[in-house]
Protein backbone atom coordinates (compact mmCIF):
# COMPACT_ATOMS: atom_id res chain seq x y z
CA UNK A 1 0.00 0.00 0.00
CA UNK A 2 2.74 2.37 1.03
CA UNK A 3 4.57 1.50 -2.15
CA UNK A 4 1.55 2.32 -4.31
CA UNK A 5 0.99 5.66 -2.72
CA UNK A 6 4.63 6.56 -3.26
CA UNK A 7 4.21 5.68 -6.92
CA UNK A 8 1.32 7.98 -7.17
CA UNK A 9 3.16 10.92 -5.72
CA UNK A 10 6.68 10.20 -6.96
CA UNK A 11 6.00 9.66 -10.63
CA UNK A 12 3.95 12.78 -11.32
CA UNK A 13 6.44 14.90 -9.39
CA UNK A 14 9.34 13.39 -11.31
CA UNK A 15 7.60 13.91 -14.61
CA UNK A 16 6.80 17.49 -13.66
CA UNK A 17 10.40 18.23 -12.71
CA UNK A 18 11.89 16.92 -15.94
CA UNK A 19 9.09 18.55 -17.92
CA UNK A 20 10.02 21.90 -16.37
CA UNK A 21 13.62 21.31 -17.49
CA UNK A 22 12.44 20.54 -21.01
CA UNK A 23 10.15 23.56 -21.03
CA UNK A 24 13.12 25.65 -19.89
CA UNK A 25 14.60 25.08 -23.33
CA UNK A 26 11.54 26.52 -25.02
CA UNK A 27 11.58 29.25 -22.37
CA UNK A 28 15.20 30.11 -23.14
CA UNK A 29 14.43 30.63 -26.80
CA UNK A 30 11.39 32.70 -25.84
CA UNK A 31 13.48 34.73 -23.43
CA UNK A 32 16.11 35.44 -26.07
CA UNK A 33 13.48 36.58 -28.57
CA UNK A 34 11.66 38.70 -25.97
CA UNK A 35 14.77 40.46 -24.68
CA UNK A 36 16.09 41.19 -28.17
CA UNK A 37 12.78 42.52 -29.45
CA UNK A 38 12.04 44.49 -26.28
CA UNK A 39 15.46 46.12 -26.06
CA UNK A 40 15.68 47.00 -29.74
CA UNK A 41 12.21 48.58 -29.96
CA UNK A 42 13.57 52.09 -29.49
CA UNK A 43 15.91 51.81 -32.44
CA UNK A 44 13.25 50.13 -34.54
CA UNK A 45 10.80 52.97 -33.93
CA UNK A 46 13.43 55.59 -34.66
CA UNK A 47 14.86 54.18 -37.87
CA UNK A 48 12.52 51.48 -39.17
CA UNK A 49 13.79 49.70 -42.24
CA UNK A 50 16.25 52.48 -42.96
CA UNK A 51 18.36 50.91 -40.23
CA UNK A 52 19.28 48.06 -42.57
CA UNK A 53 19.79 50.25 -45.62
CA UNK A 54 21.80 53.10 -44.17
CA UNK A 55 25.58 52.94 -44.13
CA UNK A 56 26.27 55.72 -41.66
CA UNK A 57 27.27 54.63 -38.15
CA UNK A 58 27.62 57.70 -35.99
CA UNK A 59 27.16 57.10 -32.26
CA UNK A 60 27.81 60.75 -31.44
CA UNK A 61 25.21 62.13 -33.81
CA UNK A 62 22.97 59.15 -33.03
CA UNK A 63 22.60 58.09 -36.65
CA UNK A 64 22.67 54.35 -37.07
CA UNK A 65 22.73 52.31 -40.26
CA UNK A 66 23.75 48.67 -40.15
CA UNK A 67 24.52 48.06 -43.81
CA UNK A 68 28.34 47.99 -43.53
CA UNK A 69 28.06 45.34 -40.79
CA UNK A 70 25.59 43.24 -42.73
CA UNK A 71 27.82 43.51 -45.78
CA UNK A 72 30.90 42.55 -43.77
CA UNK A 73 29.18 39.56 -42.18
CA UNK A 74 27.89 38.27 -45.50
CA UNK A 75 31.10 38.78 -47.45
CA UNK A 76 33.40 37.29 -44.81
CA UNK A 77 31.11 34.27 -44.37
CA UNK A 78 30.70 33.63 -48.07
CA UNK A 79 34.43 33.96 -48.57
CA UNK A 80 34.91 31.43 -45.78
CA UNK A 81 32.47 29.01 -47.43
CA UNK A 82 34.22 29.42 -50.78
CA UNK A 83 37.49 28.31 -49.19
CA UNK A 84 36.15 25.79 -46.69
CA UNK A 85 33.59 23.80 -48.68
CA UNK A 86 35.88 22.11 -51.23
CA UNK A 87 38.47 21.38 -48.54
CA UNK A 88 35.96 20.04 -46.04
CA UNK A 89 34.22 17.79 -48.56
CA UNK A 90 37.60 16.58 -49.80
CA UNK A 91 38.63 15.63 -46.28
CA UNK A 92 35.30 13.90 -45.59
CA UNK A 93 35.46 11.93 -48.84
CA UNK A 94 39.05 10.97 -48.11
CA UNK A 95 38.31 9.78 -44.58
CA UNK A 96 35.19 7.79 -45.44
CA UNK A 97 36.01 6.43 -48.89
CA UNK A 98 39.74 6.38 -49.48
CA UNK A 99 41.80 6.40 -46.38
CA UNK A 100 43.32 3.27 -44.86
CA UNK A 101 41.42 2.22 -41.74
CA UNK A 102 44.18 2.96 -39.28
CA UNK A 103 44.43 6.58 -40.43
CA UNK A 104 40.73 7.22 -39.97
CA UNK A 105 40.76 7.48 -36.17
CA UNK A 106 43.66 9.93 -35.84
CA UNK A 107 42.37 12.03 -38.74
CA UNK A 108 38.91 12.50 -37.25
CA UNK A 109 40.49 13.11 -33.85
CA UNK A 110 42.57 15.92 -35.33
CA UNK A 111 39.63 17.56 -37.02
CA UNK A 112 37.70 17.29 -33.74
CA UNK A 113 40.57 19.01 -31.93
CA UNK A 114 40.43 21.79 -34.48
CA UNK A 115 36.79 22.25 -33.52
CA UNK A 116 37.67 22.40 -29.81
CA UNK A 117 40.09 25.32 -30.08
CA UNK A 118 38.46 28.50 -28.76
CA UNK A 119 37.80 31.31 -31.16
CA UNK A 120 40.05 33.71 -29.29
CA UNK A 121 43.04 31.41 -29.80
CA UNK A 122 42.36 31.29 -33.55
CA UNK A 123 42.35 35.05 -33.43
CA UNK A 124 45.63 35.17 -31.55
CA UNK A 125 47.21 32.80 -34.05
CA UNK A 126 45.83 34.83 -36.93
CA UNK A 127 47.37 38.02 -35.55
CA UNK A 128 50.82 36.56 -35.03
CA UNK A 129 51.10 34.02 -37.86
CA UNK A 130 48.42 34.45 -40.52
CA UNK A 131 48.60 38.24 -40.89
CA UNK A 132 52.39 38.35 -41.45
CA UNK A 133 52.08 35.58 -44.05
CA UNK A 134 49.27 37.45 -45.79
CA UNK A 135 51.20 40.71 -45.69
CA UNK A 136 54.43 39.47 -47.10
CA UNK A 137 53.43 36.58 -49.37
CA UNK A 138 49.79 35.99 -50.23
CA UNK A 139 48.58 39.56 -50.69
CA UNK A 140 51.43 40.74 -52.95
CA UNK A 141 50.98 37.56 -54.97
CA UNK A 142 47.20 38.04 -55.31
CA UNK A 143 47.62 41.71 -56.15
CA UNK A 144 50.06 40.84 -58.91
CA UNK A 145 48.09 38.01 -60.46
CA UNK A 146 44.47 38.95 -59.80
CA UNK A 147 44.78 42.66 -59.08
CA UNK A 148 42.94 43.51 -62.32
CA UNK A 149 39.68 42.10 -60.87
CA UNK A 150 39.58 44.92 -58.34
CA UNK A 151 39.04 42.42 -55.55
CA UNK A 152 42.67 42.44 -54.50
CA UNK A 153 43.62 46.07 -54.55
CA UNK A 154 45.11 48.45 -52.07
CA UNK A 155 47.91 48.30 -49.54
CA UNK A 156 48.55 44.80 -48.16
CA UNK A 157 48.08 45.44 -44.45
CA UNK A 158 47.21 41.85 -43.68
CA UNK A 159 44.25 42.93 -41.61
CA UNK A 160 41.00 42.98 -43.58
CA UNK A 161 38.19 41.02 -45.14
CA UNK A 162 40.49 38.40 -46.69
CA UNK A 163 42.11 37.57 -43.34
CA UNK A 164 38.66 37.25 -41.75
CA UNK A 165 37.49 34.93 -44.53
CA UNK A 166 40.56 32.69 -44.20
CA UNK A 167 40.42 32.37 -40.42
CA UNK A 168 36.66 31.69 -40.60
CA UNK A 169 37.31 29.01 -43.21
CA UNK A 170 39.81 27.29 -40.95
CA UNK A 171 37.26 27.40 -38.14
CA UNK A 172 34.28 25.99 -40.05
CA UNK A 173 36.09 23.22 -41.93
CA UNK A 174 35.72 20.78 -38.99
CA UNK A 175 31.95 21.32 -38.75
CA UNK A 176 31.30 20.93 -42.45
CA UNK A 177 33.60 17.95 -42.79
CA UNK A 178 32.30 16.09 -39.74
CA UNK A 179 28.67 16.45 -40.87
CA UNK A 180 29.59 15.45 -44.40
CA UNK A 181 31.37 12.42 -42.96
CA UNK A 182 28.28 11.50 -40.96
CA UNK A 183 26.05 11.84 -44.00
CA UNK A 184 28.39 9.83 -46.23
CA UNK A 185 28.49 7.09 -43.62
CA UNK A 186 24.72 6.53 -43.83
CA UNK A 187 24.81 5.98 -47.60
CA UNK A 188 24.16 2.24 -47.80
CA UNK A 189 27.12 0.07 -48.70
CA UNK A 190 25.22 -1.67 -51.51
CA UNK A 191 25.00 1.64 -53.38
CA UNK A 192 28.77 1.67 -53.58
CA UNK A 193 28.99 -1.99 -54.47
CA UNK A 194 26.32 -1.60 -57.14
CA UNK A 195 28.11 1.22 -58.89
CA UNK A 196 31.46 -0.59 -58.63
CA UNK A 197 29.90 -3.72 -60.09
CA UNK A 198 28.88 -1.70 -63.15
CA UNK A 199 32.57 -1.15 -63.81
CA UNK A 200 32.96 2.29 -62.28
CA UNK A 201 36.29 3.55 -61.04
CA UNK A 202 36.52 4.58 -57.41
CA UNK A 203 35.97 8.26 -58.20
CA UNK A 204 32.94 7.44 -60.38
CA UNK A 205 31.61 5.34 -57.54
CA UNK A 206 32.06 8.25 -55.11
CA UNK A 207 30.50 10.73 -57.50
CA UNK A 208 27.52 8.64 -58.61
CA UNK A 209 26.94 6.29 -55.72
CA UNK A 210 27.88 8.36 -52.70
CA UNK A 211 27.94 12.14 -53.23
CA UNK A 212 24.76 12.19 -55.28
CA UNK A 213 22.89 10.32 -52.57
CA UNK A 214 24.23 12.49 -49.83
CA UNK A 215 23.92 15.91 -51.42
CA UNK A 216 21.00 17.13 -49.27
CA UNK A 217 22.91 16.26 -46.10
CA UNK A 218 26.13 17.81 -47.39
CA UNK A 219 24.14 20.94 -48.18
CA UNK A 220 22.90 20.83 -44.60
CA UNK A 221 26.47 20.65 -43.32
CA UNK A 222 27.50 23.58 -45.50
CA UNK A 223 24.61 25.70 -44.27
CA UNK A 224 25.43 24.78 -40.67
CA UNK A 225 28.98 25.95 -41.32
CA UNK A 226 27.54 29.17 -42.74
CA UNK A 227 25.50 29.64 -39.57
CA UNK A 228 28.64 29.26 -37.48
CA UNK A 229 30.57 31.70 -39.66
CA UNK A 230 27.83 34.34 -39.50
CA UNK A 231 27.85 34.39 -35.71
CA UNK A 232 31.57 33.97 -35.17
CA UNK A 233 32.88 36.88 -33.16
CA UNK A 234 36.31 36.90 -31.58
CA UNK A 235 38.65 35.68 -34.30
CA UNK A 236 36.98 37.91 -36.85
CA UNK A 237 37.04 40.95 -34.59
CA UNK A 238 40.76 40.47 -34.10
CA UNK A 239 41.66 40.47 -37.80
CA UNK A 240 38.98 42.23 -39.86
CA UNK A 241 40.11 45.77 -39.08
CA UNK A 242 36.83 47.01 -37.58
CA UNK A 243 36.05 49.86 -39.90
CA UNK A 244 32.41 50.34 -40.96
CA UNK A 245 33.02 50.80 -44.66
CA UNK A 246 31.89 48.97 -47.74
CA UNK A 247 34.84 48.38 -50.03
CA UNK A 248 35.13 46.21 -53.09
CA UNK A 249 38.66 45.10 -52.35
CA UNK A 250 39.07 42.13 -50.02
CA UNK A 251 42.28 43.72 -48.74
CA UNK A 252 40.29 46.58 -47.23
CA UNK A 253 39.25 46.50 -43.58
CA UNK A 254 35.61 45.78 -42.80
CA UNK A 255 33.32 45.20 -39.87
CA UNK A 256 30.81 42.48 -39.03
CA UNK A 257 27.60 42.45 -37.02
CA UNK A 258 29.14 40.28 -34.31
CA UNK A 259 32.32 42.39 -34.19
CA UNK A 260 30.53 45.67 -33.67
CA UNK A 261 28.65 44.10 -30.76
CA UNK A 262 31.91 42.84 -29.28
CA UNK A 263 33.63 46.20 -29.60
CA UNK A 264 30.92 48.69 -28.74
CA UNK A 265 28.32 47.02 -26.57
CA UNK A 266 29.97 47.49 -23.20
CA UNK A 267 30.77 51.13 -24.00
CA UNK A 268 27.43 52.05 -25.51
CA UNK A 269 26.24 55.21 -23.87
CA UNK A 270 22.73 56.35 -24.45
CA UNK A 271 19.59 54.32 -24.87
CA UNK A 272 19.29 54.64 -28.61
CA UNK A 273 22.90 53.55 -29.18
CA UNK A 274 22.39 50.46 -27.03
CA UNK A 275 19.08 49.79 -28.72
CA UNK A 276 20.66 50.02 -32.17
CA UNK A 277 23.30 47.49 -31.11
CA UNK A 278 20.63 45.13 -29.77
CA UNK A 279 18.81 45.46 -33.07
CA UNK A 280 21.95 44.29 -34.85
CA UNK A 281 21.97 41.37 -32.41
CA UNK A 282 18.35 40.64 -33.22
CA UNK A 283 19.06 40.67 -36.96
CA UNK A 284 22.03 38.37 -36.44
CA UNK A 285 19.90 36.07 -34.29
CA UNK A 286 17.10 35.85 -36.86
CA UNK A 287 19.48 35.14 -39.72
CA UNK A 288 21.31 32.39 -37.82
CA UNK A 289 18.01 30.87 -36.64
CA UNK A 290 16.73 30.59 -40.20
CA UNK A 291 20.06 29.29 -41.48
CA UNK A 292 20.38 26.73 -38.68
CA UNK A 293 16.79 25.52 -38.93
CA UNK A 294 17.28 24.98 -42.65
CA UNK A 295 20.53 23.10 -42.06
CA UNK A 296 19.02 21.02 -39.27
CA UNK A 297 16.12 20.09 -41.51
CA UNK A 298 18.39 19.03 -44.37
CA UNK A 299 20.63 16.93 -42.14
CA UNK A 300 17.62 15.30 -40.48
CA UNK A 301 16.06 14.26 -43.76
CA UNK A 302 19.22 12.40 -44.68
CA UNK A 303 20.32 10.83 -41.41
CA UNK A 304 16.77 9.79 -40.61
CA UNK A 305 16.77 8.11 -43.98
CA UNK A 306 13.59 9.56 -45.43
CA UNK A 307 14.01 11.14 -48.88
CA UNK A 308 17.21 11.66 -50.88
CA UNK A 309 17.36 7.96 -51.72
CA UNK A 310 16.28 6.24 -54.87
CA UNK A 311 17.20 8.72 -57.56
CA UNK A 312 20.64 7.61 -58.64
Amino acid sequence: MLLTSRHEIGDPIFKLVVLVCALAILGLLGLIVYELVFRSALSWHAFGFRFFAGSEWDPVGEHFGALPFIYGTLVSSLLALLIAVPLAIGVAVFTTEMCPGRLRGPLSFFTELLAAIPSVIYGLWAIFVLLPILRSYLQPFLAKTLGWTGLFEGPPYGIGMLAAGIILAIMIIPIISSITREVLAVVPQHQREGVLALGATRWEMIRMGVLRNARAGIMGGIILGLGRALGETMAVTMVIGNRPEIAKSLFAPGYTMASVLANEFSEATGDIYLSALVEIGLALFLVTIVVNALAQFLVWTVTRGEPARGHV
Binding site: V18, L19, C21, E35, L114, R202, N292
Partner: protein, 294 residues
Protein backbone atom coordinates in the same frame (compact mmCIF):
# COMPACT_ATOMS: atom_id res chain seq x y z
CA UNK B 1 22.03 9.68 -68.62
CA UNK B 2 24.83 7.91 -70.33
CA UNK B 3 25.38 5.17 -67.80
CA UNK B 4 23.73 2.34 -69.80
CA UNK B 5 26.08 2.95 -72.71
CA UNK B 6 29.06 2.92 -70.43
CA UNK B 7 27.93 -0.39 -69.10
CA UNK B 8 27.54 -1.78 -72.59
CA UNK B 9 30.98 -0.70 -73.71
CA UNK B 10 32.54 -2.24 -70.62
CA UNK B 11 30.40 -5.31 -70.51
CA UNK B 12 33.32 -7.43 -71.59
CA UNK B 13 36.65 -7.62 -69.82
CA UNK B 14 37.89 -4.42 -71.46
CA UNK B 15 40.22 -2.39 -69.28
CA UNK B 16 39.01 0.94 -67.95
CA UNK B 17 39.92 3.70 -70.39
CA UNK B 18 43.01 5.75 -69.59
CA UNK B 19 40.95 8.91 -69.39
CA UNK B 20 38.74 7.56 -66.61
CA UNK B 21 41.75 6.10 -64.89
CA UNK B 22 43.56 9.45 -64.93
CA UNK B 23 40.48 11.24 -63.61
CA UNK B 24 40.27 8.66 -60.84
CA UNK B 25 43.90 9.18 -59.84
CA UNK B 26 43.55 12.93 -60.18
CA UNK B 27 40.57 12.96 -57.82
CA UNK B 28 42.34 10.77 -55.30
CA UNK B 29 45.28 13.15 -55.44
CA UNK B 30 42.94 16.10 -54.98
CA UNK B 31 41.40 14.51 -51.88
CA UNK B 32 44.85 13.88 -50.39
CA UNK B 33 45.75 17.48 -51.19
CA UNK B 34 42.69 18.78 -49.31
CA UNK B 35 43.68 16.70 -46.27
CA UNK B 36 47.16 18.22 -46.36
CA UNK B 37 45.75 21.73 -46.79
CA UNK B 38 43.51 21.21 -43.76
CA UNK B 39 46.18 19.60 -41.61
CA UNK B 40 48.78 22.30 -42.25
CA UNK B 41 46.95 25.10 -40.42
CA UNK B 42 45.99 22.68 -37.64
CA UNK B 43 49.57 21.60 -37.08
CA UNK B 44 50.68 25.22 -37.44
CA UNK B 45 48.20 26.42 -34.84
CA UNK B 46 49.00 23.67 -32.37
CA UNK B 47 52.71 23.81 -32.96
CA UNK B 48 52.88 27.57 -32.60
CA UNK B 49 50.64 27.49 -29.55
CA UNK B 50 52.79 24.91 -27.77
CA UNK B 51 56.02 26.63 -28.87
CA UNK B 52 54.97 30.10 -27.69
CA UNK B 53 53.04 28.79 -24.70
CA UNK B 54 55.86 26.62 -23.33
CA UNK B 55 58.30 29.49 -23.75
CA UNK B 56 56.01 31.99 -22.10
CA UNK B 57 54.58 30.26 -19.12
CA UNK B 58 56.31 30.71 -15.79
CA UNK B 59 55.64 30.71 -12.08
CA UNK B 60 54.80 34.41 -11.95
CA UNK B 61 52.22 33.94 -14.68
CA UNK B 62 50.44 31.31 -12.65
CA UNK B 63 50.64 33.03 -9.26
CA UNK B 64 50.53 36.81 -9.77
CA UNK B 65 47.95 39.33 -10.87
CA UNK B 66 48.42 41.68 -13.85
CA UNK B 67 50.84 44.58 -13.55
CA UNK B 68 49.78 48.09 -14.58
CA UNK B 69 49.57 48.80 -18.31
CA UNK B 70 52.87 48.47 -20.11
CA UNK B 71 54.85 47.19 -17.16
CA UNK B 72 56.38 43.76 -17.83
CA UNK B 73 55.90 40.83 -15.46
CA UNK B 74 52.88 39.79 -13.48
CA UNK B 75 50.50 37.02 -14.42
CA UNK B 76 46.97 35.84 -14.81
CA UNK B 77 46.35 33.98 -11.57
CA UNK B 78 43.19 35.99 -10.93
CA UNK B 79 41.92 35.27 -14.44
CA UNK B 80 42.53 31.53 -14.07
CA UNK B 81 40.66 31.45 -10.77
CA UNK B 82 37.99 33.80 -12.15
CA UNK B 83 37.39 31.52 -15.14
CA UNK B 84 37.11 28.57 -12.77
CA UNK B 85 34.54 30.44 -10.68
CA UNK B 86 32.48 31.53 -13.69
CA UNK B 87 32.54 28.04 -15.18
CA UNK B 88 31.65 26.40 -11.87
CA UNK B 89 28.58 28.58 -11.39
CA UNK B 90 27.61 28.12 -15.04
CA UNK B 91 27.83 24.34 -14.62
CA UNK B 92 25.79 24.44 -11.41
CA UNK B 93 23.02 26.24 -13.28
CA UNK B 94 23.27 24.57 -16.66
CA UNK B 95 23.91 20.92 -15.85
CA UNK B 96 20.71 20.13 -13.86
CA UNK B 97 18.46 21.69 -16.50
CA UNK B 98 20.32 20.01 -19.33
CA UNK B 99 20.27 16.57 -17.72
CA UNK B 100 16.63 16.99 -16.66
CA UNK B 101 15.54 17.96 -20.13
CA UNK B 102 17.54 15.03 -21.53
CA UNK B 103 15.74 12.65 -19.17
CA UNK B 104 12.40 14.10 -20.24
CA UNK B 105 13.21 13.59 -23.92
CA UNK B 106 14.45 10.04 -23.40
CA UNK B 107 11.69 8.85 -21.06
CA UNK B 108 8.63 10.88 -22.09
CA UNK B 109 9.61 12.59 -25.28
CA UNK B 110 8.72 10.13 -28.01
CA UNK B 111 6.11 12.45 -29.47
CA UNK B 112 5.70 15.70 -31.36
CA UNK B 113 6.16 17.82 -28.27
CA UNK B 114 9.47 16.04 -27.67
CA UNK B 115 10.44 16.66 -31.29
CA UNK B 116 9.76 20.35 -30.92
CA UNK B 117 11.98 20.46 -27.81
CA UNK B 118 14.71 18.64 -29.72
CA UNK B 119 14.46 21.03 -32.62
CA UNK B 120 14.53 24.03 -30.30
CA UNK B 121 17.62 22.68 -28.54
CA UNK B 122 19.39 22.21 -31.87
CA UNK B 123 18.45 25.70 -32.97
CA UNK B 124 19.53 27.14 -29.61
CA UNK B 125 22.86 25.43 -30.15
CA UNK B 126 23.40 27.56 -33.23
CA UNK B 127 22.59 30.93 -31.67
CA UNK B 128 25.75 33.05 -31.81
CA UNK B 129 27.38 33.31 -28.39
CA UNK B 130 27.52 37.10 -28.62
CA UNK B 131 23.72 37.19 -28.86
CA UNK B 132 23.49 35.06 -25.71
CA UNK B 133 25.79 37.65 -24.15
CA UNK B 134 23.30 40.41 -24.98
CA UNK B 135 20.52 38.43 -23.31
CA UNK B 136 22.60 37.82 -20.18
CA UNK B 137 23.46 41.51 -20.18
CA UNK B 138 19.86 42.56 -20.24
CA UNK B 139 18.54 40.03 -17.70
CA UNK B 140 21.40 40.25 -15.20
CA UNK B 141 23.63 43.27 -15.74
CA UNK B 142 20.81 45.74 -16.36
CA UNK B 143 18.91 44.46 -13.31
CA UNK B 144 21.92 44.47 -10.99
CA UNK B 145 23.15 47.74 -12.48
CA UNK B 146 26.74 46.49 -12.78
CA UNK B 147 28.84 43.87 -14.53
CA UNK B 148 29.33 40.62 -12.64
CA UNK B 149 30.70 37.09 -12.74
CA UNK B 150 27.14 35.87 -12.34
CA UNK B 151 26.06 37.49 -15.61
CA UNK B 152 28.84 35.66 -17.45
CA UNK B 153 27.85 32.41 -15.79
CA UNK B 154 24.25 32.86 -16.88
CA UNK B 155 25.38 33.34 -20.47
CA UNK B 156 27.59 30.23 -20.39
CA UNK B 157 24.88 28.18 -18.65
CA UNK B 158 22.41 29.05 -21.42
CA UNK B 159 24.96 27.79 -23.92
CA UNK B 160 25.58 24.55 -22.02
CA UNK B 161 21.95 23.45 -21.70
CA UNK B 162 21.14 22.42 -25.29
CA UNK B 163 24.37 20.43 -25.73
CA UNK B 164 23.90 18.55 -22.47
CA UNK B 165 20.25 17.88 -23.22
CA UNK B 166 20.93 16.27 -26.58
CA UNK B 167 23.83 14.10 -25.43
CA UNK B 168 22.02 13.02 -22.25
CA UNK B 169 19.03 11.91 -24.28
CA UNK B 170 21.25 10.06 -26.74
CA UNK B 171 23.04 8.25 -23.93
CA UNK B 172 19.86 7.33 -22.04
CA UNK B 173 18.31 5.89 -25.18
CA UNK B 174 21.28 3.55 -25.53
CA UNK B 175 20.35 1.89 -22.23
CA UNK B 176 18.51 -1.34 -23.13
CA UNK B 177 14.75 -1.19 -22.67
CA UNK B 178 14.91 -4.56 -20.92
CA UNK B 179 16.68 -2.93 -17.97
CA UNK B 180 13.80 -0.52 -17.47
CA UNK B 181 11.26 -3.31 -17.83
CA UNK B 182 13.11 -5.42 -15.31
CA UNK B 183 12.93 -2.54 -12.83
CA UNK B 184 9.22 -2.00 -13.46
CA UNK B 185 8.72 -5.72 -13.01
CA UNK B 186 10.19 -5.44 -9.51
CA UNK B 187 7.63 -2.78 -8.69
CA UNK B 188 10.11 0.09 -8.75
CA UNK B 189 8.41 3.35 -9.66
CA UNK B 190 9.27 5.09 -12.85
CA UNK B 191 11.14 8.01 -11.27
CA UNK B 192 13.30 5.64 -9.29
CA UNK B 193 14.01 3.55 -12.39
CA UNK B 194 14.94 6.61 -14.41
CA UNK B 195 17.32 7.91 -11.75
CA UNK B 196 18.84 4.79 -10.21
CA UNK B 197 18.78 2.41 -13.16
CA UNK B 198 18.77 4.27 -16.45
CA UNK B 199 20.70 7.39 -15.55
CA UNK B 200 23.13 5.40 -13.48
CA UNK B 201 23.84 2.97 -16.30
CA UNK B 202 24.44 5.87 -18.64
CA UNK B 203 26.52 7.90 -16.18
CA UNK B 204 29.77 7.90 -18.15
CA UNK B 205 27.96 8.88 -21.33
CA UNK B 206 26.12 11.69 -19.60
CA UNK B 207 29.34 12.95 -18.07
CA UNK B 208 30.84 12.89 -21.56
CA UNK B 209 28.12 15.25 -22.71
CA UNK B 210 28.67 17.55 -19.76
CA UNK B 211 32.42 17.65 -20.38
CA UNK B 212 31.87 18.44 -24.06
CA UNK B 213 29.56 21.29 -23.15
CA UNK B 214 32.11 22.45 -20.58
CA UNK B 215 34.94 22.35 -23.10
CA UNK B 216 32.82 24.29 -25.54
CA UNK B 217 32.05 27.16 -23.18
CA UNK B 218 35.42 27.18 -21.38
CA UNK B 219 37.04 29.16 -24.18
CA UNK B 220 34.07 31.40 -24.91
CA UNK B 221 35.03 35.04 -24.93
CA UNK B 222 32.27 36.90 -26.73
CA UNK B 223 29.50 36.43 -24.13
CA UNK B 224 31.87 37.51 -21.34
CA UNK B 225 32.90 40.82 -22.91
CA UNK B 226 29.96 42.76 -21.55
CA UNK B 227 28.89 40.50 -18.72
CA UNK B 228 31.90 39.70 -16.52
CA UNK B 229 33.87 42.57 -18.12
CA UNK B 230 37.26 41.56 -16.68
CA UNK B 231 39.19 42.78 -13.68
CA UNK B 232 42.85 43.55 -13.01
CA UNK B 233 42.59 42.39 -9.42
CA UNK B 234 41.49 39.42 -7.38
CA UNK B 235 37.78 39.00 -7.06
CA UNK B 236 35.80 36.10 -5.70
CA UNK B 237 32.46 37.84 -5.34
CA UNK B 238 29.95 36.68 -7.89
CA UNK B 239 28.28 40.09 -8.10
CA UNK B 240 31.42 41.94 -9.11
CA UNK B 241 33.33 42.24 -12.40
CA UNK B 242 35.71 39.29 -12.61
CA UNK B 243 38.75 38.45 -14.68
CA UNK B 244 38.43 35.52 -17.08
CA UNK B 245 41.19 33.77 -18.98
CA UNK B 246 39.72 34.15 -22.52
CA UNK B 247 39.04 37.85 -21.93
CA UNK B 248 42.56 38.38 -20.73
CA UNK B 249 43.98 36.58 -23.79
CA UNK B 250 41.91 38.85 -26.01
CA UNK B 251 42.97 42.11 -24.36
CA UNK B 252 46.61 41.13 -24.08
CA UNK B 253 46.75 39.77 -27.63
CA UNK B 254 45.50 43.06 -29.06
CA UNK B 255 47.78 45.18 -26.88
CA UNK B 256 50.97 46.71 -28.30
CA UNK B 257 53.26 45.28 -25.58
CA UNK B 258 55.57 42.33 -26.18
CA UNK B 259 55.32 41.07 -22.64
CA UNK B 260 51.52 41.08 -22.82
CA UNK B 261 51.72 39.13 -26.08
CA UNK B 262 53.88 36.59 -24.26
CA UNK B 263 51.29 36.33 -21.49
CA UNK B 264 48.47 36.03 -24.02
CA UNK B 265 50.21 32.95 -25.43
CA UNK B 266 50.80 31.55 -21.96
CA UNK B 267 47.09 32.06 -21.22
CA UNK B 268 46.11 30.39 -24.48
CA UNK B 269 48.34 27.47 -23.57
CA UNK B 270 46.75 27.05 -20.15
CA UNK B 271 43.27 27.30 -21.70
CA UNK B 272 43.97 24.77 -24.42
CA UNK B 273 45.47 22.32 -21.95
CA UNK B 274 42.27 22.57 -19.93
CA UNK B 275 40.10 21.96 -22.99
CA UNK B 276 42.19 19.25 -24.64
CA UNK B 277 42.35 17.38 -21.35
CA UNK B 278 38.56 17.49 -21.15
CA UNK B 279 38.11 16.34 -24.76
CA UNK B 280 40.73 13.60 -24.48
CA UNK B 281 39.22 12.38 -21.21
CA UNK B 282 35.87 12.22 -22.96
CA UNK B 283 37.25 10.20 -25.86
CA UNK B 284 38.97 7.87 -23.45
CA UNK B 285 35.81 7.45 -21.38
CA UNK B 286 33.70 6.78 -24.46
CA UNK B 287 36.07 4.18 -25.79
CA UNK B 288 37.03 2.41 -22.58
CA UNK B 289 34.22 3.34 -20.21
CA UNK B 290 31.63 0.91 -18.98
CA UNK B 291 29.23 2.44 -21.41
CA UNK B 292 31.15 2.27 -24.66
CA UNK B 293 31.59 -1.46 -24.34
CA UNK B 294 28.05 -2.15 -23.19
Amino acid sequence: MSEPQNIKSHAGMQPISWRRRIIDHFMTGLAVLTVILVLVPLVAIFGYLVYRGMGSINWAFLTQTPRPVGEPGGGMANAIVGSGLILAIASLMGVPFGVGAGIYLAEFGRNRFGDSIRFTADVLNGVPSIVIGIVAYSIVVLQQRHFSALAGSVALAIMMVPTITRTTEEMLLLVPQALREAAYGLGIPRWRTALSITLRTATSGVITGIMLAFARVAGETAPLLFTTLGNQFWNLRVDQPTAALPLQIYTYGLSPYDDWHRQAWAGAFVLIILIVTAVAAVRFAVRHGTFGSA
